[in-house]
């Protein structure tokens, strides 16, 4: 059995439970015959991909759900082989150029050109164009984005591009201006309540609203997380009664432990310990920004009012640096040391600077 979150995913625009306005708009766009390039952005778990899939279905019919995965090999300028996984149907193709790291430009150029230069041969197809979905568009490098610019205009007749990103801040303005921006906001608590009730009805049990709101509180607007959580909870205690504790994901618990380490002792030796933990998290594929955010949240919870703002301020500062720099650990650690020394100075009531 699939997890509920996958099993009960809406498959058409009509099935969507929230952002009705957006759904209507997408529907009319799809049927207008004049479909633009689009940029879907919003936090994870808000339903971007689901909406994209629904839109495609609206455009091309159920054929788009017949997916296959291809592994394509590209050659980087230095003749290194880049393996890119491509998910495609007869009508669209979905790529994640960030898999190619610094060489995403190569992937964008080659793949897009190839697709753009191929006409739709299926005469029965509803649309003349193919759709290219570019995942994680906000992690495209500058070069790749630049490569995209001209392509988007030049091959408009054969191809539409749908970009999917968490935030538009890393996209260059020319790209944004060529796309219709679709903001998929995180669902409100009521929206989530509706969805979860829907899911529980489909599964066939009764979800007490208070349990639902507890899960919603915990999920922070991430519907995927909420539904996964609901399923886990249901598995834990099938009747959903009594005192329920929502199990946090392993990495979150771990991050909190790190935060506690920082608060409980401020010494160089402790910094080393924390660094060890950071390495552990990083190497287990937790993105550094997530680490910083989770740890900072926890630290802020536990420190005195007076330095909360500072802690967050520095977290913000180092988050930016982390994005610009290349070795994340330096910045994570610099932040930890900064927090430790802030805390210690506050604790002893002195200012060394």
């Amino acid at each position: 059995m699939s997890l509920w979150v996958d099993q009960y995913r809406p498959r058409s625009l009509e099935d969507l439970h929230y952002h009705q306005e957006l759904s209507t708009r997408l529907k009319s766009l799809a049927s207008s015959g004049d479909f633009p390039h689009m940029l879907f952005y919003g936090p994870s778990g808000a339903g971007k991909k689901t909406r994209i899939t629904c839109t495609l279905r609206q455009l091309f019919g159920p054929g788009v759900e017949k997916l296959k995965i291809d592994q394509r090999v590209f050659l980087s300028p230095s003749k290194r082989k880049l393996e890119i996984n491509v998910v495609q149907s007869n009508f669209h193709i979905e790529i994640t150029p960030s898999e190619a790291g610094n060489y995403d430009r190569v992937v964008i150029q080659e793949l897009l050109k190839e697709i753009a230069q191929t006409q739709q041969v299926d005469l029965s197809a509803k649309q003349r164009f193919k759709v290219v979905i570019i995942n994680e568009a906000d992690s495209l490098s500058r070069d790749a984005q630049a490569a995209l610019r001209r392509t988007m205009e030049k091959y408009m007749s054969n191809m539409r591009i749908i970009l999917c990103a968490n935030s538009t801040s890393r996209l260059i303005a020319p790209i944004k201006s060529r796309c219709l921006l679709m903001r998929v906001a995180a669902p409100s608590a009521e929206d989530m309540q509706t969805v979860m009730q829907h899911v529980s009805r489909r599964v066939g049990f009764d979800l007490p609203p208070d349990v639902a709101s507890k899960i919603i509180d915990d999920s922070g607007g991430n519907l995927r997380k909420a539904i996964l959580c609901l399923e886990a909870l249901k598995m834990q205690s099938p009747d959903l009664s009594g005192s329920l504790t929502i199990a946090k994901p392993d990495w979150e618990t771990y991050c909190q432990k790190v935060a506690d380490l920082i608060i409980s002792e401020q010494t160089p030796a402790r910094v080393m310990e924390v660094r060890q933990k950071f390495y552990e998290l990083l190497s287990h594929c937790i993105p550094p920004t997530v680490i910083l955010k989770t740890v900072a949240d926890r630290v802020v919870e536990r420190v005195d009012e007076a330095i909360k703002a500072d802690v967050m301020h520095w977290a913000a500062v180092y988050e930016v640096r982390m994005r610009t720099g290349s070795k994340k650990i330096y910045h994570l650690e610099a932040w930890v040391v900064k927090v430790m020394s802030l805390y210690k100075h506050f604790f002893y009531g002195m200012d060394f600077d």
Partner: protein
């Protein structure tokens, strides 16, 4: 004891102005004086000394005290050398010092500089010779003697370190804060000083162990007046025959300078104290292991001032030495003379011979030859070092004809006779070529040398070396006979123009009828790989300085140059035992003068210095060690950056390993800055010109915040290989695996990699891993079903387990799963077939093993008949959809499991 205090004040007052220029002269060491006398100003030192004295008593008040001290600072200096009495400075200084000590008057203003570090252990009152408020100006000698005796006794009980101090305490000037000094002075007066040294001893006891606060304070105190002390003009070679060990940080000299001083006067400096060490010069923060060694061997210790005093007072050449050493030296001298004479003789003979033989041809006057030619070794015993290697080489050459006859089957004494050729390797200038020629000549061969100045391409090597058993003239213009020996010099220099040369040479070696000696610098060079199997590798090592010294000495003697042994040693060390370079340096000097002083020698070897490559570990200890950033360090920013450039990609990582909270903050943010710069350098724009900035941000600046001795930054073994490298590759690996997981799940799941990691893996864990722990093998079927649903294979299952952190860490989880369960799971999984979403491009070559999904009980799939056309022939079990998988797989290797059915099913 002389009471100089009367005339001293005026001197002291006068000297300040002249003192400055001189000091700078010392720093640049460019002045002509061999032992420059300097009057010294003592700015911060004073503050420091008084501060630490104060700290002993009452560390809380450190801050105010410091500022108070600072205010006083400007009044400076004790100068012992006035311009007019330059002829006898050492004695004068001594007199001054002693006299003032005997008075033991603390005098407030003009503070004498004292080694800050030592003062902790041995504080003896030292009065400077100033006119102000002398409480007891004319204390008599008796008193001073008594005092020193008492303090000596006291010191003895305190351990080795004090012992030495006691002996020389008169020259240990100490300045004290005024009030304290006064009080002390009174005490001294009252109770003859014994009590005082006692009280001091106890107060200082506590501060012996270096603590962080003290170090901080020490740092804050600022530089301890580098160059604040005069190097006395001791007699030449006054330290001859003495062995010194330096430890800790001296207050006015950097370690290197101190070592130089010792060497300048003929002393020997060794790294670790042993029973043969004569003196240990103790500085601040001396290493604990060295202190232990001092205790063990009962060595004499000296403070910085005592050390200087030793130079000033010790008798010069020979006089202070025992008979044995003297004799040894004489013998050496004799040997040198004899060797020089012999050289002379030989040269004359050679000339005569040449004249007789050459007749009309012009005889080259040896004196017009390069020294390296003129003094090239004429016999095996002239060769410095590598005796064993040279002997082997000679033996091999001598036995070569026999080896040839026997077909190179008999290994011979050194196993060398199996080879037709020898590859001699070693650093430049240690006599490889010379030895090869010499050996060849001695073994009766005619050497034919080919070096980098000859073209040695494949063709030329092949043609030119066309060796016939009978003499022929080859293209190199020399006769090749069976008594020829080919010396291929600079084999590693066979470069672009010599294409194929090494290969041809190798081929030549294989069939050669004459011995071949190949010479190269680096045995590891890629280019020489082909030669490794066909040649016997003989490595030459750098001869030790002592071996080279006697030879150089005799040459110098012969050239009538007056060069002291210590200068020669230095040249040799500077040239890293490159004899040729030393000779060249000497012959250059000879053009200008007949003698070479220590300082000139130093400059000379510095100018001819070779760059050596340091390992990252050496570099790190150098950068973070106590010396580079200490106030006595003389390195400039560029020198420090030079260290970074030794290995620019690693250094920041090493530096990151070590830190300290207060300063760590600054250091860490600087490293963070460095990373930003780094991304500019290695990013798309490649601003390589920013490398110096990167050097400062990532290495120099952080190090300047956190430098110190090992014990303070988190444990004795705190320097380790950067974890980043390992962690990064682990991260990359797991990232790739996570990518695989995501791709497989992609058909069911919309999230990206991060979502998979952050949401799905924790959610899947209780479904596909948890049951194995809790229910054991009974859960296996359920788990496999769930995995198939998401197209996960056993590999991905491993990845999911591996990605866990904290209490989900893979080791913990795997430990909890009984081995039997694991086996059952693996077995069961392998025995059944599973759906595969696609084939990896890399798998295409192999015949696919798993052909179809069989146990996918999807209800939805039941509707999925629209495209089920052809049945996979081999799979009996497909009830539903697998046919498309089966055939796609065979044909195009990428396949998907149709999901169309689902929607339909749902509706």
């Amino acid at each position: 004891m002389v009471d100089d205090s009367d005339d001293e004040p005026s001197t002291a007052k006068k000297t300040p102005a002249p003192a400055k220029p001189r000091k700078s002269a010392l720093l640049s060491s460019s002045d002509d004086e061999t032992a420059p006398k300097k009057s010294t100003s003592v700015p911060a030192k004073k503050a420091r000394a008084s501060l630490s004295a104060k700290m002993d008593v009452d560390s809380d008040n450190e801050q105010p005290q410091r500022s108070a001290q600072k205010r006083k600072k400007p009044s400076v200096l004790l100068s012992d050398s006035s311009d007019d009495d330059g002829d006898q400075p050492p004695t004068k200084k001594k007199a001054v010092v002693t006299s003032s000590t005997s008075k033991s008057k603390p005098k407030p203003k003009p503070r004498v500089s004292m080694p800050a570090k030592m003062k902790d252990d041995e504080d003896f009152i030292m009065s400077s010779d100033d006119d102000e408020k002398l409480v007891a100006v004319t204390s008599d000698e008796d008193e001073s003697i008594k005092m020193s005796v008492v303090s000596k006794a006291k010191a003895k009980t305190k351990g080795a370190a004090k012992k030495a101090v006691a002996n020389d305490n008169e020259d240990e000037p100490i300045s004290k804060p005024k009030p304290k000094a006064k009080a002390l002075a009174k005490k001294v007066k009252d109770e003859d000083g014994g009590a005082e040294s006692k009280s001091k001893g106890t107060t200082t006891e506590g501060s012996k162990k270096p603590n962080w606060a003290a170090l901080q304070a020490a740092k804050a105190r600022g530089p301890v007046a580098p160059g604040s002390k005069t190097v006395p003009d001791g007699e030449e070679n006054c330290l001859l025959g003495l062995a010194f060990v330096f430890t800790g940080e001296l207050s006015s000299f950097s370690r290197d300078e101190a070592i130089d001083i010792a060497k300048r006067y003929g002393g020997r400096v060794v790294g670790q104290p042993s029973s043969k060490t004569d003196f240990v010069v103790l500085g601040e923060d001396a290493g604990p292991s060295k202190l232990a060694a001092i205790k063990k061997h009962g060595l004499k210790t000296l403070s910085e001032d005592e050390f200087l005093n030793l130079i000033a007072t010790r008798k010069g050449k020979g006089k202070g030495l025992d008979e044995k050493t003297k004799k040894k030296m004489e013998k050496e001298q004799e040997a040198i003379k004899a060797a020089a004479k012999e050289m002379d003789k030989k040269e004359k003979e050679a000339m005569k011979e040449a004249k007789a033989a050459g007749g009309s041809s012009k005889v080259i006057d040896p004196s017009s030859q390069l020294w390296t030619t003129r003094y090239a070794p004429q016999s095996l015993k002239d060769i410095c070092g590598n005796k064993a290697a040279v002997e082997k080489l000679e033996l091999w050459l001598k036995e070569w004809p026999q080896s040839y006859k026997s077909g190179f089957k008999k290994p011979g004494k050194h196993g060398m006779n199996m080879f037709r050729a020898v590859l001699v390797t070693g650093s430049p200038g240690i006599g490889k070529t010379t030895s090869a020629h010499l050996c060849a000549k001695l073994a009766g061969y005619t050497p034919i040398e080919l070096n980098a100045s000859d073209t040695r391409s494949k063709k030329l090597v092949e043609n030119g070396m066309n060796i016939k058993q009978h003499s022929t003239t080859n293209s190199m213009g020399s006769m090749i006979t069976d008594r020829s020996c080919l010396i291929m010099d600079e084999v590693d220099g066979m470069s672009a123009g010599d294409r194929g040369g090494v290969g041809a040479l190798n081929a030549l070696i294989k069939k050669s009828k004459i011995p071949i000696i190949c010479i190269a610098n680096d045995r590891q060079a890629q280019k020489l790989k082909p030669l490794m199997s066909t040649t016997f590798s003989l490595s030459f090592v750098k001869p030790q300085a002592s071996m080279v010294r006697s030879r150089i000495m005799s040459i110098a003697y012969r050239e009538k140059m007056k060069i002291p042994a210590n200068v020669i040693d230095q040249l040799i060390a500077g040239a890293q035992s490159d004899i040729r370079q030393v000779l060249n340096m000497l012959s250059t000097v000879k053009l200008r003068s007949d003698s070479l002083t220590f300082d000139e020698g130093k400059e000379l070897s510095k100018m001819n210095e070779k760059y050596s490559i340091m390992s990252p570990f050496d570099l790190t200890s150098k950068i973070l060690g106590p010396y580079l950033f200490s106030h006595t360090a003389r390195e400039t920013l560029s020198d420090k950056m030079e260290l970074y450039f030794q290995d620019h990609s690693f250094m920041p990582l090493f530096i990151q390993e070590l830190k300290m909270l207060q300063l760590m903050d600054k250091a860490a943010s600087s490293i963070s800055d460095g990373d930003l710069v780094d991304s500019l350098i290695h990013g798309p724009e490649q601003h390589w010109s920013l490398m110096p900035l990167h050097a400062v941000c990532s290495t120099i600046r952080p190090a300047s915040f956190v430098y110190g001795t090992g014990a303070h930054y988190g444990g004795p073994n705190s320097m380790s290989f950067p974890q980043w490298l390992g962690q990064n590759s682990k991260q990359n690996k797991l990232n790739r695996q996570l990518g695989d997981v995501q791709v497989r799940m992609r058909l069911k799941v919309s999230g990206d990699k991060h979502e998979i990691r952050q949401s799905y893996i924790p959610a899947l864990h209780p479904h596909i891993v948890g049951p194995l722990v809790e229910e054991g093998s009974s859960a296996v079927d359920k788990i496999i079903e769930r995995m198939d649903e998401y197209f996960l294979s056993k590999e991905e299952w491993d990845t999911i387990v591996e990605l866990g952190v904290g209490d989900k860490k893979d080791e913990l989880i795997l430990k909890k799963i009984p081995a039997a369960t694991k086996t059952a799971f693996t077995k069961k999984y392998n025995s059944s077939d599973h759906p595969i979403p696609f084939h990896k491009a890399t798998d295409l070559g192999k015949a696919p093993k798993k052909l179809a999904a069989e146990q996918v009980p999807d209800l939805e799939e039941a509707f999925d008949f629209d495209e089920a056309v052809e049945d996979a022939s081999e799979d009996e079990k497909n009830k539903k959809d697998p046919e498309d998988i089966a055939n796609d797989k065979l044909i195009q290797a990428s396949k998907k499991k149709a999901t169309t059915g689902k929607v339909k099913a749902k509706k």
